[in-house]
């Protein structure tokens, strides 16, 4: 049995994307900046891909800037809005405690450069409250950045409501949509989004390519200086095969979205129900406002890395927010942000379902997780203390 259940980490490339890329590499080797025919044909391919991506988000093609991925797009959007704000004497940024590190580390850097950053509470259910965004806005606020859906616990944020608040208050709004672009229907105009970051490999496209949507007229500075590619906002010869693969994958994902989400939600809810049967376990994040394939649990008395390794032995690829998998002593900042204490956060498991997963996979995963959790608890001194009543159960 081989079950890939880590679609939030990356996804297998779709056949359509591989074919589009292969064709592009074989036939369109021209440089889109060259004036002769093969160059101009490559330029046409590039612009067709841009138009396809824009159409999926209800954006204009000229508002899509291709990047090396989600992290670059996050960095560029945040830095652009912040530096434009600073020029007007606005040095306050609002974000949340459970953003991706591409956002949090950029904000840390801006703090060192004199910006003030407010990180909003994401509450126990892992959902930001729009009224708290509104309350945090000050005259000197230049940017609000809130992720569309969380990468660990899959909670989907009230982006439309936050967008409306920001637009009404005249504050720029960025959303890191790396987990949401593809699986969720996004309308950047209706949702009042000024900047949106996305990454190709999260929706069955290639790695190393993503895009930034930047609404017409918003500040945008290049992170990489050089030639005039991407209207001077991202120098360097375009990664044409990657861009073509990204657009083919996004188009395909968008076309299958409704049916696939309906299918995945059923699998997800069955997985949540099955894992809930494990005593002293708890689902992380809101049960309903979550991505169709995301399941994230904490199990008391065990540590996440050993859980992952044993699941791997059973053919299941999954992920954890334990410190040992993060390479630091602290467990996932996301789990801490929703109020899980360290002891419990170490025993977390993220399973993210996707295109290839079946109902049979879900039953196998439930059986395997039950078995492994019970095995590890069998020789865990923490579990012994919990069961003997020496320390109280938290879940």
């Amino acid at each position: 049995m081989k079950i890939y259940a880590d679609h939030a980490a990356t996804t297998a490339m779709s056949g359509a994307a591989i074919e589009a890329m292969t064709r592009c590499m074989r036939e369109e080797y021209g440089n889109p900046s060259s004036l002769y025919r093969i160059g101009q044909r490559a330029k046409e391919v590039l612009e067709a891909a841009r138009a396809e991506v824009a159409a999926v988000l209800n954006a204009r093609p000229e508002e899509i800037y291709f990047t090396s991925g989600g992290s670059e797009a996050d960095n560029q959007a945040i830095r652009s809005a912040a530096l434009a704000g600073k020029k007007k004497g606005k040095n306050h940024i609002i974000s949340t405690a459970f953003e991706h590190h591409a956002v949090l580390h950029t904000l840390e850097q801006l703090k060192a450069e004199g910006f003030e950053v407010t990180l909003l509470d994401v509450h126990e259910n892992g959902v930001v409250r729009p009224e708290e965004v509104e309350a945090a806005i000050r005259p000197e606020t230049c940017l609000v950045t809130v992720m569309y859906a969380n990468n660990e616990i899959g909670t989907v944020q009230p982006i439309r409501e936050i967008g409306a608040v920001c637009r009404a208050r005249g504050v720029l709004f960025h959303t890191d949509a790396v987990q949401a672009a593809g699986p969720l229907e996004i309308d950047v105009q209706a949702e009042n989004i000024d900047y949106l970051s996305a990454s190709g490999h999260k929706f069955h496209g290639p790695k190393g390519v993503g895009f930034l949507y930047a609404r017409r007229g918003v500040p945008l500075l290049p992170l990489i200086n050089g030639g005039a590619q991407e209207k001077g906002k991202r120098a360097g010869t375009e990664n044409l095969p990657g861009i073509v693969g990204l657009s083919a994958a996004l188009k395909e994902t968008a076309a299958e979205r409704d049916a696939e989400n309906a299918r995945l939600s059923v699998l997800r809810d069955r997985l949540i129900a099955g894992l809930s049967e494990i005593p002293h376990s708890a689902l992380n994040g809101d049960a309903e406002k979550r991505l169709p394939g995301n399941v994230n649990f904490c199990f008391e008395g065990i540590e996440g890395e050993s859980l992952l390794l044993l699941l791997d032995e059973k053919g299941i690829s999954a992920s954890s927010g334990s410190a040992c998998t993060s390479g630091s002593l602290d467990p996932s900042h996301v789990l801490l942000a929703i109020g899980r204490v360290h002891d419990v956060a170490h025993g977390s498991l993220r399973l993210t379902l996707g295109r290839e997963n079946t109902a049979e996979d879900v039953e196998y995963i439930i059986g395997a997780v039950k078995e492994v959790v019970s095995y590890l608890r069998g020789f865990s001194p923490v579990w012994r203390d919990l069961e003997s009543g020496k320390t109280p159960h938290l879940l």
């Binding site: 540590e303 050993s306 002593l329 020789f379 865990s380 001194p381």
Partner: protein, 126 residues
Amino acid sequence: MALYSEKVMDHFLHPRNVGVIEDANAIGEVGNAKCGDIMKMYLKIEDDIVKDVKFETFGCGSAIASSSMATEMIKGKPLSEVANLTNKAVTEALDGLPAHKIHCSVLAEEAIHSALEDYRRRQEEA
């Protein structure tokens, strides 16, 4: 390259000396759940020799493997030898650990030393 050596994976997947010794006369517990690692060693010492040893561990793959390896290294050994067990020896016996996992072998050394201290305390009391 895999995260762990074959030796580590062997001891993680098939840990030796797992469990509890009900009439242990030396018990050592180190680490804390906050940091994600707790090791508990149960020793049965007779005539200054570790007659039996068992462990319980809450922790990652290398913590479990380090506990397992350490118990194997002290079982049947005289206390004079056990007292000299170092984390370096445990790490070497496991064919190495990733740099950020060395603390797991340190915990194993500390758990054994903590058990020996417990033994001495009990001897003094008796």
